[in-house]
Amino acid sequence: MIDPFDPHDPSWTGVSPRLATARIALTAVWTALLAALVAAALAMIAAWTSFPLWSTAVPVVLALVVIGVTAWWAPRNRRAWGYREDADDLLVRSGVMFRRVVAVPYGRMQFVDLNIGPVARRFGYARVSLHSASTKTAAVVPGVPHDEALRLRHRLTELGESRGAGL
C-alpha cells in the first residue's frame, strides 16, 4: 500500500505557496495591531500610575511569538494540502499533525463551491469545496490558484454530471 501522505508523491497537486504567505501576513497584521493597542494602553497606565513601564514589552513579545509560530506552521500546513484527480474519485489530503485523506467519487458530488475572500483575491487563490449528500465528506481545498480553481470546478461539475449516480 502506497502512503497517501507521502509529500514527495508527484501524483498529488499541491496548493499555492501564497496561501502560507497570506496566512502569515494576515496573522502578522492583526497580532501587530492588537499588540500595539495593548502596549499603548499599558504605557498610558504606566504613565499615570506606578505600574512598571517594562510591562509594555509583554504584548510585543507575545505577538512576536504568535507570528513566529505561524511562520513555522503555515508553510508546513500548506505543503500538506493536496488533491488528486483519479479516474473515478477526487482525493483530498490535508494536515501535518491531524492527517486526513478523503476520496469523493465524482458521481456523488452534489455541488461544488468556490470561495474567494478579499485577502484571497489579493493573493490570487480560492477555496474549492465539494459537497456530497453527507456532511462528513468535508472535502475542502484552500489556496488553489485562481485559474486552476476555475478549471477544477468546471472539471468536477462536468464529471459530476456525466457520472451522476443520484443518491
Binding site: M97, F98, V101, A103, P105, S134, R163, L167
Partner: protein, 453 residues
C-alpha cells in the same frame, strides 16, 4: 357529501384533472376537527393555570366547560374559514396546495421531487374517520406539505396514486387512468410487534433502568440524610420521567406492523393516533442494528435506517423515532428486515479487520467489540460494549471514504477509516486500525463503491 365524493374519486383516478382545475376542498368536517383540537389545547392550558393557582374554584368550574364549548365553536368557525380557502390539485405533473385567507400561499410539489407520502390519523380526526396526508420532499423541515383532513379511504387511495406517480415520473397527458391499469397492490406482512413485547422491551431498556436507578438513589439519599421532603420533589420528577418513557413508547409503537408494499416498507403504528409511513427502498442509504445490553441476552434488537434528506427535521428524539424501522425484534425477523432494506446484506461479514494491538489503548474495553469489514454488497462496522451498534452501508450508496490520523495515532501507527453516509443513525467507522489496514479498507471500499455505481 355523497355526490361530491363520487366526483372526487373519479377525479383522482382520471388524468382529466390536468386541464385547468380550481382544485377541490378537503373533507368539510376538517373545521370541526380543528375546532376540537383547539378547544382541547385551551382546556389543557386552563387546567394547567388552575393547577398553578391552587385548585378548582367556582370560577374554574364555570370557566372550564365554557372554554371547552367556546373553543369548539370559535375553533370550528376559524377552521371553517381556513378550510373554505384551502384547495388542492393533483394533476399530471404535480400536487398543488393553495391555502391562506389573507396571505395566500400556493405550494407545488412536482412528482419527481416527492420522497414519501405518509398518512397520519391524529386522535380527534380518527374519531371522525379522517386522516391527514403528509407529502415529504427532500430539503429540510420546510419541505413537508400537509393536506388535512381527508376520509381515510380517500387518503389511502391518494397515497397509492401519488406514490405510483412519484416512482414513475410525470404521466403524459391522455394516458390511461393510472388507477385503472394498476395491478393489485402487493401487500405482505413482514412483522408485527405485539404490544406486550413493546412493553417488556421498554421495561428492560437502558434509559428506563437509568431512570429507576436515579429514583432509587434519591430514596436512599433521603433515608441517609433523613430529609424525606427534599427527596420528594426529585422523586416526582423521576416518576414523570419514567411514566413518559413508558407511555410515549407504548403509545407510539402499539400495534406496530411492518408490511412490504410495492415501493418500500410500510410502517403502521400508534394506539391513540395512528401513523402510516412508507420507507421507499431506493431512499435507503444505510441500516443500523442496535442491540442494547439487556436486550442482547434475549436476542432483541431494534433497526434504524438512514434516509436521504430525512435528517434535520425535529429534535433528536423525533429523528430517532423517524429513523426506526423495527422498534424491537428477534434475530430472524431482524435479518429479514435488513435484507429487505439492503438486499443481500448480512450483519456479520466474513472479511473483518479489528483494531491494532497498539490502538487498544484508545478503547481499553471497547476494542474487543469493534470491527469493520465488507462483502460484495455492503461495508459493515460494529462497535459498542454497552449498546452494540452494527452499521451497514451498501457499496452502491456510500458517499465518500476518509482515513484520518491524529498525532497520537501516528505515534502508535494506527489510523481511523470512515465510510460516509448522509446524516443519520448509521455510521460505518473502523477506529484505530493499523495504518496499513485502514488504507486497505479505504482502497477496497473506493474500488467496490466505484464498481457498484
Amino acid at each position: 357529501m355523497a355526490p361530491d365524493s363520487e366526483a372526487r374519486s373519479s377525479e383522482v383516478g382520471s388524468s382529466e384533472v390536468g386541464s385547468p382545475t380550481i382544485g377541490r376542498r378537503t373533507h368539510p368536517l376538517t373545521a370541526v376537527v380543528l375546532g376540537v383540537g383547539w378547544s382541547a389545547a385551551a382546556v389543557v392550558g386552563l387546567v394547567g393555570s388552575l393547577v398553578r393557582d391552587g385548585g378548582l374554584d367556582s370560577w374554574g368550574a364555570i370557566g372550564l366547560p365554557a372554554a371547552a364549548v367556546g373553543g369548539v365553536l370559535v375553533g370550528s368557525a376559524i377552521g371553517w374559514v381556513s378550510w373554505w380557502f384551502t384547495r388542492f390539485v393533483i394533476d399530471d405533473t404535480e400536487v398543488r396546495l393553495d391555502s391562506g385567507v389573507l396571505f395566500r400561499r400556493s405550494r407545488r410539489v412536482p412528482y419527481e421531487r416527492l420522497q414519501s407520502v405518509d398518512i397520519v390519523e391524529p386522535l380527534v380526526a380518527r374519531v371522525f374517520g379522517l386522516a391527514e396526508l403528509r407529502l415529504d420532499s427532500a430539503g429540510g423541515a420546510e419541505s413537508r406539505t400537509v393536506v388535512r383532513y381527508l376520509q381515510l379511504a380517500e387518503a389511502k387511495e391518494l397515497r397509492r396514486v401519488l406514490m405510483r406517480r412519484a416512482h414513475q415520473g410525470p404521466v403524459a397527458s391522455g394516458d390511461k387512468p393510472v388507477a385503472a391499469d394498476a395491478p393489485p397492490p402487493v401487500r405482505e406482512v413482514v412483522a408485527e410487534v405485539p404490544p406486550s413485547r413493546v412493553l417488556i422491551g421498554t421495561l428492560l431498556s437502558l434509559d428506563l433502568l437509568f431512570a429507576v436507578l436515579v429514583g432509587l438513589g434519591a430514596i436512599v439519599a433521603a433515608i441517609w440524610f433523613a430529609a424525606p421532603f427534599a427527596a420528594l420533589g426529585g422523586l416526582v420528577g423521576v416518576g414523570f420521567w419514567i411514566v413518559r418513557i413508558i407511555a410515549t413508547r407504548v403509545l407510539d409503537q402499539w400495534g406496530y406492523r411492518l408490511t412490504r408494499v410495492e415501493q418500500g416498507l410500510r410502517i403502521e403504528r400508534g394506539l391513540l393516533s395512528r401513523t402510516s409511513e412508507t420507507i421507499p427502498f431506493d431512499r435507503v442509504q444505510g441500516v443500523a442494528v442496535v442491540e442494547p445490553m439487556i436486550w442482547r441476552h434475549f436476542g432483541w434488537r431494534h433497526i434504524q435506517v438512514d434516509i436521504a434528506g430525512a435528517a434535520g427535521a425535529g429534535d433528536a428524539e423525533a429523528q430517532d423515532k423517524e429513523a426506526t424501522v423495527m422498534p424491537i425484534t428477534d434475530p430472524v425477523v431482524g435479518a429479514r428486515v435488513v435484507d429487505l432494506l439492503v438486499p443481500g446484506a448480512v450483519e456479520v461479514v466474513d472479511d473483518r479487520r479489528t483494531p491494532a494491538r497498539s490502538g487498544r489503548v484508545f478503547a481499553p474495553i471497547g476494542w474487543r467489540f469493534r470491527w469493520i469489514g465488507a462483502d460484495d454488497v455492503a461495508v459493515v462496522s460494529r462497535r459498542g460494549w454497552i449498546t452494540r451498534r452494527t452499521s451497514i452501508v451498501p457499496h452502491r450508496k456510500s458517499q465518500s471514504v476518509a482515513v484520518e490520523q491524529g498525532p497520537l495515532q501516528r505515534r502508535l501507527g494506527v489510523a481511523t477509516v470512515s465510510v460516509h453516509s448522509p446524516d443519520g443513525p448509521v455510521e460505518v467507522q473502523g477506529p484505530h486500525l493499523a495504518l496499513a489496514d485502514a488504507l486497505a479498507v479505504a482502497a477496497d471500499e473506493v474500488t467496490r463503491a466505484g464498481a457498484a455505481r
